[in-house]
Symmetry: C2
Subunit: 591 residues, 2 copies
């Protein structure tokens, strides 16, 4: 029996559904996995030995490939994961063998603002607690592999300062790398939102003096923004991962030449820490469909896509494989389109754009909702005017998806406060733009509520797709950035800081420049680089403040506006509401 | 077939043994677990639902309880884990149902100096790679729970600085805690040896200004020294853990009153992160006996014991349960005796003191071995004189074990270079001290080589034990510290720094002072607080530099000498030699 989402919190619904949860062995069997291909983690979670699956099914044709993206969200989120899960449940009700792929939630939002990233209402995946709190450990593996590189860097800098060349060679057969402390590329990572660690000084002398490190400025980013996470998301297999793990640029030497993880001789050990993480995880929807979970979120500050490996096996095992890309189509879908699909060689058959009446109202001028505070009354009463005005944002994202050659399906993720007139207005405007539209009540009704959406997706997938990249990778980076800014964000142009300009010039001279992808860092809360500007901002220019280079993942990463790779924890964080019932062992407050 | 340890590295032996590894389901069945009590992690690792086991077997009498400790080790280690595994294998060969309990290895030593902490030669536990690199994630859970408290602290300090009382209350219903930035007790943790993070400044203004944290001095310790790890080691059950998790003292307010994890409202969420970690892990010896792995190492800077929970279930399931306590008896056994057994209420039936001819020689005046460099020739040739002189250290530890009322069994962990005359001398001196002695070749021959040791242990366990604590917990801390220093370390007395003196005076005034245990931090490389002094140092005083208080674990932690809670990475770290074979998926170089 399912609880009523209008009366119960997400975690209460999850608990109730977990009473009838199938074992992960059962889920694996339904998915068509052989026994040895499932690596169980407890009774209800598992990892899939992807190599065994691909060895066995490599010749089987792929199923249909559906991406779920969204309009520019409010800070509350528009229910993209909820829709991904709901759609798979709806496809299931229509008799289609289907699977979802979502990204592992980060401890940052789970403990900070957002709570569950498992979907919501009657479209969730379970077991909720384990999924939300560390899961099978992949983010921890990323964090450890990443920080090990920093241990290698910082200890090396100390030893190179303390010893002369002769001593260094005799101690450890290490040549001097001559690392420039003012030109260190990489920071540390931790999987929480922690503004206090954004800018730090490390290596301050303590009681051990010269053995207490090398003093320099450093930083901590959130773990899911790590280049190691980007590598996990895009690699095809272990050999691909091993190769990329050695190319991460940790710092530069005093001649300006890159110092990589391979130079620090830490790339083998970093890969070793990732040996379990490379296998995708599998859990289930509350209606019993398989859900792959792999790689990390945050398409604003990272690639933020579930992994290529998870999609590769999902497409072999399912008729319909639904994958999610983070935030709005300007961010998540753009990276799915021009990065992830480039690396995977896979092409989508349809893209779902999730919208809510709430988000449209916020783009249309209603007061902005703030997490943790009551919704302004404009959101609980009919306001067709706000909705109509806000649809400009949705239509912009529809055009973005169409530029990739893929059929967009607009999913109106229904709320109980939506009115008929509001819905009619959205349908009218989207259909005029040539998009399919489905009203979906999967939050309230689960798979039954997603039948219209499932049908629209099946229809869209039956169309022929002409998937085309936005740009050729031979295009210089400044041009690529300009193109994304104009075509996808709607900017008038791009301004580069002197620092960004200098770095781009240097990157463009690399032999492998044409083999590097573009992975933008920009706020997800606006099409522009200013999170306060809603709708479709006009007459603005993108400000690129800095440029990072991920030599292993193969990304050039321009950073736009004042966004940081380390989010902050607000004054009313959600960890306050999380607790454990010591009698039942249940965790409450993840919602 | 087992490989010859004289010709093969530990990881090669482990790989070969893994070809015949039993599934974890099989191991659990042999151990007598019911099906739902095993939570598998892949095919060869698992966790045990300890509550289900204790509910079912609570009335069953305990098996025999054996602790494995050692003499003051060389930096190379004397094979305590190897002996623990070997002993269980030997007991198995003698038809005894037996299990081991060891501590999860820390990423610090694994990537720094030590390599495998899974035993060695033909006495190892497997699967080696997963065990060595993150395992089932417990240390990561400890790290995340710990750092979440620091996120709560540092974000609170920022918000309290930025907002007045009225604004704080309206934003989040939070009273002002008035945290004193000069009196923050807790640091951050990471599971690597990273001297560059020992002393740091955090919260430096960046592009976000007042939202970039609160600037202050801070530090990182190694994760396994976390108070959260201490709590995992000593709790009896989940309710015990939940209660303790709220009493961790994170900082003090401007009136000098403790600010706890409960005050920061983060204790429920911290416990939630530990929900999987509280269940002990289970793997196997290369001869197929069950090995519990739970909690963390480092008895020098932490409690460094495998968990009370693992021992509780091991004693219900086995005739002989062999647990290990870290480093020499001055450190590991003292904490087993006066802390762990106090919390568990369990009493040991015998204690094995592991020694090697190598370590005795180092205590007798031979040049000290250095990790990563060739052993001085004194260690490969017969030197009865060095051995005889060094036995003073072993005899000191025998007396320590006897003071607890437990029968000591000396295990000479044989090396191929040991000579008959050297062994005869050790036997002679130990037997004169009233200890049983066994020469054990388990490294070379596995369980077959440990038959003599197993017999000596069975004999010792047949004796009646009168286990008595070293001190009553009503004794004031300064007296307890003096007692440990004189009786266990052989010091003439203790000198306290002004800071330590002040803190002890304040601690002694707490209402719960008599409920707090003593957990010393001291080098493991000498009985004294100076790691260079071997044998039994004379005419020295213990210098207590600082005192920490772990309000949740219930420990007062005096820090002696210049030891740090964050070890360093040397100039020839072992991560250089770790790599992955991308064809087979095997990890090499963990040894």
């Amino acid at each position: 029996m399912m609880l009523d989402p209008k009366k119960h919190a997400d975690w209460e619904i999850a608990w109730e559904a977990e009473k009838n949860m199938k074992t992960i062995h059962h889920i694996a069997e339904v998915l068509g996995l052989e026994k040895n291909e499932l690596l169980p983690y407890g009774h209800y979670m598992g990892k899939v030995d992807f190599r065994a699956v691909l060895d066995r099914l490599g010749d089987r044709p792929n199923g249909k490939y559906v991406d779920v993206t969204a309009i520019t969200p409010t800070p509350l989120g528009e229910g993209k994961s909820t829709t991904t899960i709901g759609l798979v449940q709806g496809l299931g009700r229509r008799g289609k063998r289907s699977s979802a792929a979502i990204r592992q939630p980060s401890g940052g939002p789970t403990m900070g603002v957002k709570g569950s990233a498992a979907g919501g209402g009657l479209s969730q995946c379970i077991p909720l607690t384990q999924y939300s709190l560390g899961f099978t450990g992949d983010i921890n593996a990323v964090m450890n592999a990443h920080n090990l590189a920093m241990v290698a860097l910082t200890s090396r800098m100390q030893h190179e300062r303390n010893y002369n060349d002769e001593k260094l060679l005799s101690l450890s057969k290490m040549p001097r790398l001559n690392i420039d402390p003012a030109n260190v590329n990489m920071g540390w990572v931790i999987d929480f939102c922690c503004q206090a660690l954004r800018n730090v000084i490390i290596g301050i002398d303590g009681i051990n003096g010269k053995s207490d490190g090398f003093m320099m400025r450093s930083r901590f980013d959130i773990a899911v923004s790590s280049e190691v996470m980007a590598i996990l998301a895009i690699v095809k297999d272990l050999a691909d991962m091993r190769r990329r793990m050695g190319k991460i640029i940790v710092a530069y030497d005093r001649d300006g030449k890159p110092v990589t993880t391979a130079d620090l001789e830490v790339d083998g050990a970093m890969t070793a820490w990732m040996m379990e993480a490379i296998n995708p995880n599998i859990i289930q929807t509350i209606e019993g469909q398989p859900v792959f979970v792999h790689a990390g979120p945050f398409a604003n500050i990272a690639i933020g896509q579930s992994s290529v490996i998870a999609d590769r096996i999902g497409l072999k095992l399912s008729e319909y494989h639904v994958t999610e890309s983070g935030f709005g189509a300007d961010i998540g879908y753009e990276k799915f389109w021009n990065l992830k699909c480039h690396y995977s060689g896979l092409t989508p058959d349809a893209a779902v754009i999730v919208t809510t009446v709430r988000a449209l109202k916020s783009h249309g001028g209603a007061p902005l909702p703030v997490p943790g505070r009551p919704l302004p009354s404009e959101y609980s009463k009919e306001h067709v005017g706000f909705v109509e005005k806000g649809c400009c944002n949705l239509l912009h994202h529809i055009r973005t998806v169409k530029k990739s050659g893929v059929s967009p399906v607009v999913c109106i993720n229904a709320f109980v406060t939506d009115t008929k007139a509001e819905i009619v207005k959205i349908r009218e405007l989207c259909e005029a733009e040539g998009a399919r539209v489905a009203l979906s009540t999967h939050w309230e009704h689960g798979g039954e509520g997603a039948l219209e959406l499932a049908e629209a997706v099946v229809d869209a997938c039956a169309e022929k797709t002409k998937f085309v990249p936005l740009y050729d990778w031979e295009m210089p980076f400044k041009e690529r950035i300009e193109l994304v800014a104009r075509e996808i964000y709607g900017a008038n142009g791009v301004d580069f800081s002197a620092e960004a300009e200098k770095k781009l010039t240097s990157i463009q001279k690399r032999d492998d420049a044409m083999k590097l992808g573009l992975c933008m860092v920009k706020t997800h809360l606006s099409l522009s680089d200013d999170p306060s500007r809603k709708g479709v901002p006009e007459d603005w220019r993108l400000h690129v403040r800095d440029v990072l280079i991920y030599g292993g993942a193969g990304f050039v990463v321009p950073v736009a506006g004042s966004i940081s790779l380390m989010p902050g924890t607000g004054s009313n964080p959600s960890f306050r509401r999380v607790d454990v019932d010591t009698e039942t062992g249940r965790v409450s407050g993840i919602f």
